[in-house]
Assembly symmetry: C2
Homo-oligomer: 504 residues x 2
Amino acid sequence: MKLKAKTMDMDAPDMMVVLTKADSATLGVKENDRVRLTRGIDSAIAVVMISDACIGEGEVFVIDELMDKLRLSDGDEIDVKYSVSPDSVRSIRRKMDHEKLSPEEIRSIVQDITDSKLSRIEISAWLTSLYINGMDIDEIAAFTQAMVDTGDRIHFDRTSVFDFHSMGGIPGNKITPIVVAIVAAAGMMIPKTSSRAISSACGTSDFVETFCNVELSASELKEISENVGGVLAWGGSQNIAPVDDIVIKVEHPLGINPRAQMLASILSKKVAIGATHLVIDVPTGRGTKVPTIEAARAYARDFMDLGEALGMQVECAITYGDQPVGSAVGPILEARECIRVLEGFKHPSSVIEKACDIAGMILEMGGYMNGAARAREILKSGDAHKKFMEIVVAQGGDPELKAEDLVPGEHVFDVVAPSSGYVHNINNKDVVSIAKAAGAPADKGAGLLLYKKKGQRIEVGDLLFQIYADNPAKLNRAKDMAYKYMPYEIEGMLIKRIAPTRMR
Amino acid sequence: MKLKAKTMDMDAPDMMVVLTKADSATLGVKENDRVRLTRGIDSAIAVVMISDACIGEGEVFVIDELMDKLRLSDGDEIDVKYSVSPDSVRSIRRKMDHEKLSPEEIRSIVQDITDSKLSRIEISAWLTSLYINGMDIDEIAAFTQAMVDTGDRIHFDRTSVFDFHSMGGIPGNKITPIVVAIVAAAGMMIPKTSSRAISSACGTSDFVETFCNVELSASELKEISENVGGVLAWGGSQNIAPVDDIVIKVEHPLGINPRAQMLASILSKKVAIGATHLVIDVPTGRGTKVPTIEAARAYARDFMDLGEALGMQVECAITYGDQPVGSAVGPILEARECIRVLEGFKHPSSVIEKACDIAGMILEMGGYMNGAARAREILKSGDAHKKFMEIVVAQGGDPELKAEDLVPGEHVFDVVAPSSGYVHNINNKDVVSIAKAAGAPADKGAGLLLYKKKGQRIEVGDLLFQIYADNPAKLNRAKDMAYKYMPYEIEGMLIKRIAPTRMR
């Protein structure tokens, strides 16, 4: 039927139109059905909402994006027709029924999510089905390839392109600039993209952007990598595996990250960037995404099988994740600690060790012997710092950048030990919650500085950690949270295994 | 943080607000997270969308419904804070993990859906989990009870209240007014509520409303039932199991109806209306919801177990569902056929037989012997018609109502047999699609009249069925569909079992 288009002036979550009750009855469509909108040679599909709130019979509300796509102005007449659901909905139902999907079915689901042809209801059903029924390695390989193919790819004129990825879930994991600098200083190509925080207090891009620009286009990323050997880009600035951004918004409120989705998401970005050799860091321990060594081994097996299916050489590092890496959590605090290590500071050793171990594995994939030792030499010699500064300058940073120039939030609160004993545990999730309450990652100066780590002896009144904030209200909020969820567990040498979390 | 409220002038699918990118970053909320809105003593939870489209920093778009709830005017300042997800999201995740939910968990999910505290993403994940992982009878009983408790209930001052329900999926199933009239004429109380079409061409309420008002409030329903003994109400006019309306909107685009949801949905309405004795009609056969006798037996077992758990006497009738019931499909056509039977016509026999068999089962539950024979007597004697007219008049219908006064659509097309042979099959789904293309159920005069049924011998050129429409464009659309999806399969006596659907 012919209806008059009215602009709906907002970013809707779905590609939607609003019809009156009467018109939807005449068209025979229900809420969440689809209609095809046609005007002249332009045509698009939209999901139907029904409301008599602000439109009258004969009118249809059309979101901005669709108005533009159909080149419509307010009041233009368009043809609205019932349209069946995309075939991909049937494939989602097949996954609900625990069937194996063909590469074509998987591709059409990924394409339809990318093109906003599936609504949030359907994407949620897809992710829930993936969570419950899973995918085998063939399906995940097809899923990965579909995620690559629905976005842009970068091609390097090299036989070997190196990359690494940390599964995350561990606060203070600021090793990326150190690893990239070491590997690039060894003459190997490492075009590293990173993410911003999703649920954490600080992603790699959140702290790198405190000292240089991370929002690089695909061509800038390529050019810098080719000139300097390495890059520290935010992965959201290129159109790489764009489906991920849509999926994350639906995963987030459900609090799930289905294994197949996680594996395909990680590997697709590496395939798209042209990586041929990949090290995956799997932080393992209490409060990370991977609580046990057995679970870490299963992930490692998945990554390697998937790498094989995709023609990529993959090695995995199962790393210690029981407590934060280093001392700093939060954008400026992490940036400062990271750059200090590059400048030659010998502390914190957990950062230096982890960065050199991971860099060492990459160096060995590139043909070096005794990779970790070689990595330490490159760091110690100052070559890594020199390479790091080349990358910073290429990304628009200050050629005179010093760690000491980075100043955290001016509002500081000291948290002291409520009792004497040994630090039995530092709870990652509580550390993250407090840093977020202080304003991280949006407030660049916000975060935590840890003065004690696991196994250290402390006396009552000793400084355990400092909270930094850019804003006094947030400092207070973080302070309250620190007393509510004390992240340190302090016990005598005799640990009461029956109630290890009694202090919380 | 304090933000200025701006009215968002539409019915949104979720209880939502729109924040700017900057403000959501400051609050630390992502899309689909929740915030608590507070103004004075009023407070509410909303789901977050993020957009810079029509609001500036410091402003928040709030949908009408929430503006009213918080007694806000445009420009009022409100406090917006991050809020955790409701606990019911955790219970949904437990169902994803195939855990058994407690009655309290199930109640909180149902309550939160009813109160719009769960978004469509979460409801979709819930239904997908129910579809895949299911519920046992204890859980379904708790689910049913929660659906009852979150809506209104009707209490009759009787020890026995009778009811029946047809699982549907079979076109032309117009027996309800006949069953209700027979049972009420026998002096038994049967306060029957029915639905409108969801995906079918005509629900019971769609055709009953062509001759009387079906939109009865709970008190009208009660009063008419008490005065006349029976009623033919639309179930959507009372606030009975209101969660169902929300759930259906999410089930519909996914094309699923999880067993637990279906059972709880049906039984909750019967519990809420005070039914003590219930007959369930399970139409079984090709193209219905229940394709095989085995599946029908499983449903019957479920209904009876669930009835026991809820303290209700339940009996099931597995009925023939391979082809439409009677000849008419579509509101006025079905109303006419139904009233003709009540007026004493001997045709179509499938309608009379089914109505009397179901009514007979109910009569036997009420203590009558030989229920089906008794039902036929009540129908034949004219007592059923007299009772039917009492109900029609009580519901505001014409006291002089005659079947012949009901006139179907003026635009008619005859579909004739393309070949000679026996009617081997009439495809229910195609019948429904054609009737819907002709305009049913919104166009009251639209539908199909079938002249031949299964097993009949036909010659090429014989009239198979007529399409009726209120509007010539829809008649054409239905005609095209009739040639594309010919619902009749005509074969010789020797049926080629290898390709029974080759004609389509």
